[in-house]
């Protein structure tokens, strides 16, 4: 029985697939990227969202989004999605909080 690969292969399961030459790219983490990493560690430490849930959540973004979003952007979007699913907070609460966060900066810059 042949099963379509696109159903059974997770987007991040790429070992052995064709890929171009690599470049030895690296960058020092932005402050928010480091905070995002610390958030991931703490969420796992407190078993609010464990590391395997985060991995599964990133896979659930699908190939398209995984390709478009850089690393920590994938993580933070995933944490938000999982938080909605586990009823920790709602999309509206996040939207309101983001507006509040943005206002702190626009207020400062005004």
């Amino acid at each position: 029985m042949s099963i379509p690969d696109f159903v059974t292969r997770l987007p991040n399961d790429i070992g052995g697939l064709d890929a171009g030459p690599f470049q030895r790219v690296e960058h020092p983490l932005e402050p928010w990227e480091k905070r995002c990493h610390a958030l991931a560690d703490v969420l796992d430490l407190r078993k609010v969202i464990n590391t395997e849930e985060k991995r599964k959540g990133v896979e659930a973004l699908g190939e398209g989004l995984i390709a478009k979003l850089p690393y920590y952007e994938r993580w933070i979007v995933t944490f938000a999605n999982i938080a909605f699913t586990k009823h920790f907070f709602t999309p509206t609460e996040l939207a309101d909080k983001m507006t509040e966060v943005e206002a702190r900066f626009t207020g400062e810059l005004a």
Binding site: G16, A19, K34, R35, L39, R46, K68, E93, L94
Partner: protein
């Protein structure tokens, strides 16, 4: 609010080795930067984590760098009893030195010899021995390295300038869950009698991933 780093801003496609981070916009924080603040604050307000947890974890991350791994390697080169404990149980031997494993992972230390060369990768994501090396470089997390290291390790190594003779066996370790790997590189010749500190100064992060050997400074610049 308009995402400042919307996907269309980058010309990313899956086969392209991008920098894997968004361009920095001056002044106001970017969309994902603000999302991180908002998500973190909501988790804190809901009582699921505390601001202190985050502050502490940032200190933990800041305290981990390849300098730790290099010190472990230098100790293994100079202390045969430690070396055998390290190869027997990597985590326990590192803990002996005060390196904690905050992320609850295990550590297997892989010894390079004249006949075996080890290389580490995580094809499924970006598993990495963070407690002893800090956070991984971007290239380790990007598709080309992850896809290719398991299928054509010798070509990948050659792209790092590392040519492994045919009679040396290559062992690629792919990390899938809770075990992490650290390569114990070969000690370079001409370092007899060197102190641990001096030896540690030779050991690079990339050598502990297994993509390059440890060399003396004059060799590297030759």
């Amino acid at each position: 609010m308009i995402p400042e780093t919307s996907p269309s801003d980058h010309d990313h496609d899956h086969d392209h080795a991008h920098d894997d981070h968004a361009p920095v916009v001056e002044g106001r924080p970017g969309y994902y930067d603000m999302m991180e603040t908002a998500v973190r604050e909501l988790f804190i307000e809901k009582g699921l984590i505390t601001a202190g947890d985050i502050r502490r974890q940032i200190e933990v991350l800041d305290s981990r760098s390849p300098a730790l791994g290099a010190a472990v390697v230098a100790k293994a080169w100079t202390d045969a009893a430690f070396r055998s404990r390290l190869l027997e149980n990597g985590r326990r031997a590192c803990e002996e030195l005060g390196i904690s494993f905050y992320d609850d992972t295990d550590l297997i230390v892989l010894e390079n010899t004249e006949t075996v060369h080890n290389l580490i990768v995580c094809t499924l994501c970006s598993c990495y021995p963070r407690p002893v090396l800090g956070l991984p470089p971007d290239w380790y997390k990007l598709k080309p390295y992850r896809s290719r290291a398991v299928v054509e390790p010798r070509k990948v190594l050659a792209e790092f300038g590392t040519v492994i003779p045919e009679d040396v066996e290559i062992r690629v370790s792919d990390s899938t869950a809770t075990v992490r790997f650290l390569v114990l590189p070969c000690r370079p010749e001409g370092t007899d009698g060197w102190s641990e500190d001096r030896l540690a100064s030779l050991v690079t992060r990339d050598a502990m991933i297994g993509v390059i050997p440890v060399t003396l400074p004059q060799e590297a610049s030759r």
